[in-house]
Amino acid sequence: MNAHNNMETQLWEYIDGLSGADERSFIEGLIAADAEWRKKYEELLSFNAALHQDIEIDQPSMRFTRNVMEEIGRHQIAPATGSYINKKIIYGIAGFFLTLIVGFLIYAIGQIDWSVAPVNNTLPFNLPKIDTSKVFNNNYVNAFMIVNTVLGLMLLDRYLAQQRKHWKKEDA
């Protein structure tokens, strides 16, 4: 069943003109040599031709164009979005909020009484005595490396898929 589906998918890509040059010549070879592929190809080809020719397009009423034009007569083309969005206004709003944030920060910092010594200036833990080997042991490092490798492979796969699409377009 899977092989059958795969055959159909490849044949549809060939018929739609989506296969690359190599794939195209490979499928042409299969169609020429294999009776099963040839039969399926002819079947899909006549189905494709029927779809091209036989799908009917419906028509609205005879008055449709006139109705639309009458309706349009009451409207005007709206100005392009880019033309009425004034960048100066956007920058102005951004500037206002930035000034507000910076102002609050300056005010908050100004309220701190720096002359008062901290109640407890010792840290709740002894930094030199922390045993990092409990966290950064081999298992954690390995898991970290595996996750990174998987992410790296996913990114590479995505990049290659994009490249493949690009090459296919160039081939076509």
């Binding site: 159909e8 998918t9 549809w12 739609d16 989506l18 079947e43 006549s46 189905f47 031709a49 029927a50 779809l51 091209h52 020719q53 036989d54 799908i55 009917e56 397009i57 419906d58 028509q59 609205p60 009423s61 449709f64 164009t65 109705n67 639309v68 034009m69 309706e71 349009i72 007569g73 409207h75 005007q76 083309i77 709206a78 100005p79 392009a80 979005t81 033309s83 699409k165």
Partner: protein
């Protein structure tokens, strides 16, 4: 009426104030827009209302059309979103006959004459009847691909999906269509094989 103008030429004319030039675009695309809407809505009256709304929206938004895609792709995108908005606003279910029970009901409604009529149906009627049994999305993808002169990339833009997803959808839609035709129009499919 000026002939031989491209869509972009007509759009330039309309933008310069020649509102009547827009009628050429309406005439050219009204059937395609109407057909796509009918894939979603059962009523021709509703479909015509939505189609009119699509052209008015397109006219009002012409200022935003930058010509980076074909006018038809842009128009079909408006068509799809307007259809979905209409369905949501009116709380209508998407018209889907992708279910044998519904088809059986429709079959019974037509009474006994239907069997004879089906036998007499031409290949054209068979294909179109089978398309009506598909889900609106499948029917739309097939219509855009075969009649709307849209590439897979353009259909992806219309539907707001990835090109690969559209490729898979088109493949499955054709498979489902073929299955419907084989199930309900076995004799015609045999004839088609000799076509």
């Amino acid at each position: 009426m000026q002939t031989g103008l491209t869509d972009n030429d007509i759009i330039q004319l309309v933008r310069k104030g020649d509102q009547q030039a827009f009628a050429q675009l309406v005439t050219k695309y009204q059937n395609y827009v109407f057909t796509i809407i009918l894939r979603y809505l059962p009523s021709r009256e509703d479909a015509e209302e939505v189609a009119q709304d699509v052209f008015v929206k397109a006219y009002r938004s012409l200022g935003d059309f930058r010509g980076e895609s074909k006018f038809s792709t842009w128009l079909y995108t408006i068509t799809t979103t307007t259809c979905i908005t209409f369905l949501r606003k009116n709380k209508l279910d998407v018209q889907s006959l992708d279910n044998e029970k519904v088809f059986a009901q429709a079959d019974n409604m037509d009474g006994g004459m239907r069997a004879n009529q089906v036998e007499q149906k031409s290949r054209v009627a068979m294909v179109n009847q089978a398309i009506k049994m598909l889900s609106p999305e499948d029917a739309q993808v097939i219509t855009l691909f075969y009649k709307g002169e849209q590439s897979l990339d353009e259909i992806a833009q219309v539907l707001g999906q990835e090109t690969n997803a559209v490729k898979v959808r088109l493949h499955r839609a054709r498979q489902r269509l073929k299955e419907k035709m084989e199930k309900y129009f076995a004799q015609e499919v045999k004839d088609l094989a000799h076509y």
